[in-house]
C-alpha cells in the first residue's frame, strides 16, 4: 500500500515540513484526530476533497492527521474499527471530571460507515457545525447524547411513517 497521507499528502508529522514548534498560545479545548487508512471509498474521498474545510472550521484547536502507516498500525491494534475509517475523533481536554481512569472524554464520527457521498458530506458538515456551535458548552458529551437521542426519535418516527405509507399503498 502506498505510504502517502490519504488526506493531505505526506503527514506533517513525518514530512518534517510542519511547524512542530507552533504550539497554540492558549490551552486548546479539543484535540482533533483524523484516522484514514486509505480506503478507496466514497466517504474517504469526501473527507479528502473537503479536508481544507475541516481545517478552516476548526482552526481553534489542534488537528492531528495520521498518515496511512500510522492509521493502519492503529487499526491493526483496534480491528473493530477497520472499515469504519475515515474517523474524526474529538477529544475534549476540558471535560468535566478531566481525564479520569475511565478514559478520555470526547466523541467521534465514523465516516466509513456511510456509503453514499451525499450522506457522508452531510454528516461531515453536521459534525463540524455541531462542534462549532457547542465548542463553549460545559458538557459537550451531554449535548452529543441529546442530539443522538433526538435523531433516534426522528428515526423512529420515520420508520412509523414509512410503515403507515406501506400499509396505505396496500
Amino acid at each position: 500500500m502506498a505510504s502517502h497521507d490519504p488526506v493531505a499528502g505526506p503527514s506533517p508529522a513525518t514530512s518534517g515540513r510542519g511547524p512542530a514548534s507552533a504550539v497554540p498560545e492558549k490551552s486548546p479545548r479539543f484535540h482533533f484526530f483524523i484516522i484514514d487508512s486509505g480506503w478507496n471509498s466514497a466517504s474517504a474521498n469526501v473527507l479528502r476533497e473537503n479536508f481544507h474545510m475541516i481545517h478552516e472550521f476548526q482552526s481553534h484547536d489542534p488537528l492531528f492527521v495520521l498518515d496511512n502507516r500510522q492509521s493502519i498500525a492503529l487499526l491493526r491494534q483496534y480491528p473493530e474499527l477497520i472499515g469504519k475509517d475515515p474517523i474524526l475523533s474529538v477529544h475534549d481536554l476540558h471535560a468535566a471530571g478531566g481525564r479520569d481512569p475511565s478514559g478520555y472524554h470526547g466523541f467521534r464520527l465514523c465516516l466509513g460507515m456511510l456509503h453514499q457521498p451525499t450522506k457522508a458530506l452531510s454528516a461531515l458538515q453536521e459534525f463540524l457545525r455541531f462542534v462549532a456551535a457547542h465548542r463553549h458548552s460545559p458538557d459537550i458529551e451531554q449535548d452529543v447524547r441529546k442530539r443522538l437521542h433526538r435523531q433516534g426519535l426522528e428515526g423512529a418516527m420515520e420508520v412509523v411513517r414509512e410503515s403507515a405509507e406501506l400499509l396505505a399503498r396496500r
Binding site: 514530512s15 497554540p24 470526547g106 443522538l148 420515520e158 420508520v159 410503515s163 400499509l167
Partner: protein
C-alpha cells in the same frame, strides 16, 4: 372463516410491529456506529492517540499540502 380472518390480521399486525421494532433498533445502532461518544472501552485508542502527540509522532496540522 371470521376467526381465520381475525387470526391473519393479528399475525400481520404482530409481524408489522416486530418489523418496526427491528427497524428502529437497527437504525439506532447504525446511528451510534456513525456518531458515538467515547466510552471506557475507547480509553486505549484515545490514550494511544494522545500518547502519539506527547511523543511528538503527531504534530498539529497547519495547512501545508503538497504543491
Amino acid at each position: 372463516m371470521e376467526n381465520l380472518s381475525l387470526s391473519i390480521t393479528m399475525l400481520i399486525g404482530i409481524a408489522m410491529a416486530g418489523w418496526i421494532a427491528f427497524e428502529i433498533d437497527w437504525r439506532r445502532k447504525r446511528l451510534r456506529e456513525v456518531y458515538n461518544v467515547l466510552e471506557s472501552k475507547d480509553k486505549h485508542i484515545t490514550g494511544d492517540l494522545e500518547h502519539m502527540v506527547e511523543l511528538g509522532q503527531l504534530k498539529p496540522y497547519r495547512g501545508e499540502t503538497e504543491a
